[in-house]
Symmetry: C2
Subunit: 334 residues, 2 copies
């Protein structure tokens, strides 16, 4: 697929994903691969579901955070860490830090879902609130790192974070490979593209023919447009908010995009109503709480954005941190 | 623990559970073993959760049903099957029958949750409704078996069904044994006692010291009373209905009870309010839809019915077939 030697230009390799898998073993949950007769019936295909909403802290983010933090030196651990996050990366960093005895500060937007603020606090992290409209979270976090000497833990543009997120798809590929199943396609929610990039590295190692797609909400379709254009394009700064608070990164990452550009087939875009329908489907048919941002790949498959008839398709439910009152409001609308 | 040779008197052995595990491999989901920092914090222990709500058809019942139906002869398969069930066993039988190309009739009470009726139908089974107040479901099913020549598939009092249900705890014991963890206790929801009996066989094979408990709703505490008395005692025929439609069997099974009597430590009983709290906890903290009957073991642990401080405790979430509107009503009460 790629020119010889071309892979050396990427920030992360499959070997890094394998190494991350060894580091998180026994720390992260090895999430299952689920089937649903109802989903197969709705799509005409065989859909394999990787529910990262069942990961510790309720999203895949714990994988990358633990991988990153476990490699800090003793001196770095003493200095502590700081991360910025709408909530899922923050929870992942907070729990990984707690497990490793590291002090953590998480910079979060004031309008993050209450459950994400509460859980981040419950994992023992200090929270610093910033105003998403008037402040730059990267600058707030960088200032804290500077002033307090903390290590900044990026949410996606970091080789160890990307490698850690890739362990999810590595588990999927090991399992389907053992069962002698070939995936026709794999669909991954994309915010900054870290899960996407790690997943793509793992999938391509096992299968050259699996089509790989990002899934995004409308107005935050930067991966779809960037993949089509072959260069990083930003979302409109004045884009209306999405239900998908986890997927509102401004543009594809500097480290993630070259990986995704090489391996990802294209980007799927779903409407807010298609996302709500997927959240309802996950609850009633899969018996899982999946937050809107975690449900975009399911939404894309349910809404027929790719061919599913007689295809074997893997998809990731990337997170489940959602206030149950909001969940029940979405259910009531259905 | 037991006298030499005593085990030969039981209807099922550990070898039967192992054989069932081989039969269902690649057919049933190997459900994960989940951890929850929130649950550990709430209990002071290390709680390992076996979410059978993620099994095909939304409960452990598929395990026993597939094990039983896969061993029917070609002639028996042609005759078709009939089962009676409040819904979970019926769904398990319906899907296993569909996968094996067998015609199925399920006898269900008219007041079964709508989702259970709908899903059983969706798996292609014919449904026969009976009146729980005036008709005996066993008689209705036996009459259909007689008239139509179908094989009756009991919901718990059957060696192959019990062995199949035991594969859930076998998976748990293999996993904790690989991780060199010893369970101090294991808690299992009990209706007719099939999951309980199969689980007890698997647990005792690995660990003589793990305390094994049934969990039941008040008014349907037949296992707790029977285990204490050493003989099968029935629930009051006029007991008020429980939220736990899956656990309203009249008394411990004739085949299940001798197994449970030998291996199970005792019975835990929880109130309807403790069950509602567990359903809410599962949704908001574990991100899982767990039906009331599936949540009684979690309810017992959350309500402090056994010592949890510094203990390692396994518990089963045995099913998740619940109308989401009812789920959201329970959430709103919390």
């Amino acid at each position: 697929m790629t020119e010889p030697g071309a892979e050396t230009a990427l920030a992360v390799s499959f070997a890094d994903v394998k190494a991350a898998a060894r580091r998180i073993e026994g720390k992260a949950v090895r999430t299952p691969l689920l089937s649903s007769p109802a989903l197969d019936q709705a799509t005409g295909g065989k859909i394999l579901i990787k529910p990262e909403c069942l990961q510790l802290t309720g999203s895949f983010k714990f994988r990358g955070a633990y991988n990153r933090l476990s490699l800090l030196s003793a001196e770095e651990r003493r200095r502590g860490v700081v991360a910025f996050s709408s909530g899922n990366h923050g929870q992942g960093v907070a729990l990984a830090a707690k497990m490793l005895g590291i002090d953590a500060v998480i910079v979060m937007p004031g309008d993050a879902p209450g459950i994400k603020l509460d859980n981040t606090r419950a994992h023992g992290a200090k929270i610093v609130i910033f105003d998403r409209q008037t402040e730059d979270r990267e600058q707030v976090a960088a200032a804290i790192a500077d002033e307090q000497g903390r290590i900044l833990v990026p949410s996606y543009d970091d080789a160890l974070i990307i490698a850690g997120q890739g362990t999810s798809a590595l588990e999927v590929m090991e399992e389907v490979s053992d069962a002698e199943i070939t995936l026709d396609a794999y669909v991954v929610p994309a915010g900054g593209g870290g899960l996407m990039a790690g997943s793509a590295l793992a999938i391509r190692e096992f299968s050259a023919r699996t089509l790989i797609y990002s899934a995004e909400p409308e107005n935050f379709d930067d991966h779809a447009r960037s993949l089509a254009a072959g260069e990083r394009l930003a979302n409109a700064p004045d884009a209306p908010d999405s239900l998908c608070d986890a997927l509102m990164a401004p543009m594809p990452g500097a480290l993630t995009f070259p990986i995704n550009k090489r391996f990802v087939t294209g980007g799927l875009v779903v409407s807010e109503e298609e996302i709500r329908a997927a959240v309802r489907f996950a609850l009633s048919e899969l018996r899982l709480v999946v937050e809107p941002g975690g449900a975009v790949a399911l939404a894309a498959v349910l809404a027929g954005k790719i061919e599913t008839q007689d295809r074997v398709i893997g998809l990731v439910l990337s997170g489940g941190n959602m206030d149950v009152a909001q969940l029940c409001r979405i259910v009531a609308e259905g």
